[in-house]
Amino acid sequence: MANILDIRRRIRSVVNTRQITKAMKVVSAAKLRRAQERTMAARPYATMLTNVLKSLVKRAEIYDPETGQPKHPLLALREEHNILLIIVTGDKGLAGAFSANVTKAASRFLQSKAGKNIDIEAIGRKGRDFLRRRYPAAAMQTRSLADLESEDSDETRPEQGARAGSIQITGEHVGILGKFDFSQARALAESVIERYDNQEIDSVYVVFNEFKSVIAQRLIVEQILPIENVGEQSVRQSQDMTEDERKKAKEAAISSGIGMRSESPADQVAEKFATADVDYIYEQSPEELFRSLLPKYVGIQIFRALLESAAAEHAARMTAMESATSNATDMIDSLTLVMNRARQAKITKEIIEIVSGAAAM
């Protein structure tokens, strides 16, 4: 029979652990709420920008009538030799399989593009660590977004030398996910577009956790360049939550009071932007507008990926901590049972000893 003192000590230790996981869950829930609000707040801008672009697509001559080739380089399909992959994971652990799932999806994607040159920009410490163990770093690194002290990134980018391998890491961005704003997304978009313009890369993909709400998340690989259809996501691979994950996420959300709605009234207002049935006066020609708006579209997509991934990370951590807490509770219950049995057994044994001692007299 186990020692009662030992069991009691173990119970105390599990109770302490449960206190920690419970606190972490509350913290994650609070962070999730903030991240969710930011994601929502970013939506009207994205919707409006997309709407304007869509209406411009109809008005402007985007395709050359003679060759059928798009006039804008960001729309042009080139043969895919060099690929840029942006991987968005978390900076911190204790979030279940959150980052592992992303890196797994990234590996699958890399395999599917075997034989091509792939540059990787890693966002988040977990993904960076994973990739570092497998792939070499490029000779010239893009400046980390974490060091971006001013939004005016007016430095010229160093020339890329020889490749370090067919798959190489060209940039690491660690520690930005806790606190970032649009300027980081824009800086990354600008560097991506520059490389695309210089034909250093022929296409750009992002792997990240999409977050519509706590119960509507999926892990996707999205193509952001070239832009296939404005306003439509070009999802290359996607992986939905399993039923079990959804159930757990829902339970965790309910117990922390997180809402599950994914629409806000502002979205509906945004939908109407630039779609009024009137003849607008265009201060600039539609072509010119289109040209300057398209790069912004890339920026907002990267921004969205960062925001949603950050929200998804908090949601994953909240869910993980919720199950850790309930596991701890289960463990305390079963340990208490074992302890009570042991105590009872001890008492019984003592009584028997006394009774049989008395009988022997």
């Binding site: 707040a41 009137v278 607008y280 201060e283 507008l289 708006l293």
Partner: protein
């Protein structure tokens, strides 16, 4: 005709302004535009500059860096990458940014991206100007 229109200024971060305004001045790419209620429908790109609007009696200022505006007779919607009120502007940072841009422009180095540096300079100067209207 009503004497105000709805003014909305939206950035990727949030909705900065949502109010009834009697007048707004926006930095169009081809020059500043003054807009009063009942303006003809118009779409324009914005450059770096100041937005000035009046809601009630007071004049409000905002510094914007690149944006886009849709004007309708009863509504003006502005999409801006950044839109900052005077008290949100980090004057120290703008000053440093201005210095850096000036240094680059006068350095004589051929590697300097003149357009970008000019843009940075312009942004910093606009911020400083708007900040003075606190």
């Amino acid at each position: 005709m009503p004497d105000t229109f709805q003014l909305e200024i939206v950035t990727p971060e949030k909705k900065v302004v949502d109010t009834a305004a009697a007048e707004v001045q926006i930095p169009g790419k081809n020059g500043y535009l003054g807009i009063l209620p009942g303006h003809a429908p118009l779409i324009t790109e914005l450059s770096v500059g100041e937005i000035k609007y009046r809601d009630g009696g007071e004049e409000q200022w905002l510094a914007v860096a690149w944006g886009f505006a849709e004007v309708l007779p009863d509504k003006v919607t502005i999409l801006a990458e950044t839109a900052e009120r005077p008290n949100e502007i980090d004057v120290e940072r703008a000053r440093k940014s201005k210095q850096r841009a000036e240094q680059r422009l006068t350095s004589g180095d051929t590697n300097v991206d003149v357009e970008r540096s000019l843009n940075a300079l312009h942004k910093a100067e606009t911020r400083l100007e708007v900040a003075e209207n606190k």
